[in-house]
C-alpha cells in the first residue's frame, strides 16, 4: 500500500506524457505505408493493445498459479485486476483490427486463425470475470476462475503461432521474429514507444485496481468482524 502511494503518481505522470508523445508521433510524424497508405497508422494502437491483452492474460495466469499453489491472496487480486483491464484491451485490439481490416482487406471480420484466437481470448476474459462474479463464496470463485485461467492459457501460444499454422489473411509476425523485425525503423520506433506507453498505462491501472481490491478485501474482513460482534 505504501509502495502504491508513491508509485501511482510516478506512473500517472510517465504514462500520460508517453501516451501524449506517442499519439502525436504516430499520427503526425510517423510515415504512411507505401501500400496501405495512412490506414497503417492504426498499427500504433492495434499492436500495443494486443501486447497488453496478452501481457494481462499472462499476468493473470501467473497470479492464478501462485494463488493455487501457495494460496497467496495478493496474487489472486493481481489476477482479478489484470482480467478487468485485459478484457478492455482485448476488445480494443479486436475493434481496431476490424476498423483496419475494412479498408485493407475489404472486410470487417474474417474467421482467420489470429482473429479467432484473439476472440477466444476475449471470451476467456469474460468467462473468468463471469465465474468470479457468479460465486457467492469469494475463495471458491477465485479458485474456479484460477483453474479456468490456467486451462485457457493454452490459447496464448496458439495466438502467437496462429499466423504460422493457419497463414490466411492476418499478416505474419513482423516485430518479434527470427532474423529481426521486418518493419522499417521509422515505423518500428514509434510502435515500440507506443508499446512502452501502453504498458506504463497498464501498470498504472494495475496499481490503482490492486489498491482498490486490497481495501475492498479489508472492508469485507471488518464487516465480518462487525457482524461477529453483533451476535
Amino acid at each position: 500500500m505504501r509502495f502504491s502511494k508513491v508509485a501511482i503518481p510516478i506512473f500517472a505522470i510517465l504514462a500520460f506524457l508517453s501516451l501524449v508523445f506517442g499519439y502525436i508521433w504516430s499520427l503526425v510524424y510517423a510515415p504512411a505505408d507505401y501500400q496501405q497508405s495512412q490506414t497503417a497508422r492504426i498499427i500504433f494502437i492495434h499492436v500495443p493493445s494486443a501486447w497488453v491483452a496478452v501481457g494481462a492474460y499472462s499476468t493473470m495466469a501467473l497470479g492464478s498459479l501462485v494463488f493455487l499453489v501457495w494460496r497467496h491472496n495478493l496474487a489472486d487480486l493481481a489476477a482479478k485486476a489484470a482480467a478487468q483491464i485485459g478484457v478492455v484491451f482485448t476488445a480494443l485490439c479486436l475493434i481496431t483490427g476490424s476498423i483496419w481490416g475494412r479498408p485493407t482487406w475489404g472486410t470487417w471480420w474474417e474467421w482467420d486463425g489470429r482473429l479467432t484466437s484473439v476472440l477466444v481470448l476475449f471470451f476467456l476474459y469474460l468467462g473468468y470475470l463471469a465465474l468470479r462474479a457468479a460465486m457467492n463464496d469469494d475463495q471458491k470463485g477465485a479458485k474456479a476462475a484460477a483453474i479456468l485461467c490456467l486451462v485457457g492459457s493454452i490459447n496464448i501460444p496458439i495466438i502467437r503461432y496462429s499466423v504460422v499454422w493457419w497463414n490466411t489473411l492476418h499478416q505474419p509476425a513482423a516485430v518479434i521474429r527470427k532474423g529481426g523485425s521486418s518493419l522499417h525503423a521509422d515505423i518500428l520506433n514509434p510502435l515500440l514507444f507506443m508499446g512502452f506507453a501502453f504498458m506504463l498505462f497498464f501498470g498504472l491501472l494495475m496499481l490503482i485496481k490492486m489498491r482498490a481490491l486490497i481495501i475492498e478485501r479489508k472492508n469485507k474482513n471488518i464487516e465480518a468482524k462487525i457482524a461477529g460482534m453483533g451476535q
Binding site: I45, P103, A212, N219
Partner: protein, 62 residues
C-alpha cells in the same frame, strides 16, 4: 529531426481519404483508456469511503 507528414491541417484530417478509419480507431482507444482510468479511480475512492465508514462503526462498537 522528425518532419510532420502533413502540410496542412485539412490534409491531416483527410488522411488520404482514410481519416474516418484512422480517427475512429484512435478515438475509441483514447475513450477506452479514459473509461478504464475513471472506473479504476472511482472503485478506489468508493472502497476508501466504505473503509472509513466501517472503521468508524468498528471503533464505536469497541
Amino acid at each position: 529531426m522528425m518532419q510532420p507528414q502533413f502540410k496542412t491541417f485539412q490534409e491531416f484530417l483527410y488522411m488520404d481519404n482514410y481519416g474516418p478509419y484512422v480517427f475512429t480507431a484512435f478515438g475509441i482507444a483514447v475513450i477506452c483508456k479514459m473509461i478504464l482510468l475513471f472506473l479504476a479511480i472511482k472503485s478506489e475512492k468508493k472502497a476508501q469511503k466504505q473503509s472509513q465508514i466501517l472503521e468508524a462503526i468498528l471503533n464505536e462498537k469497541n
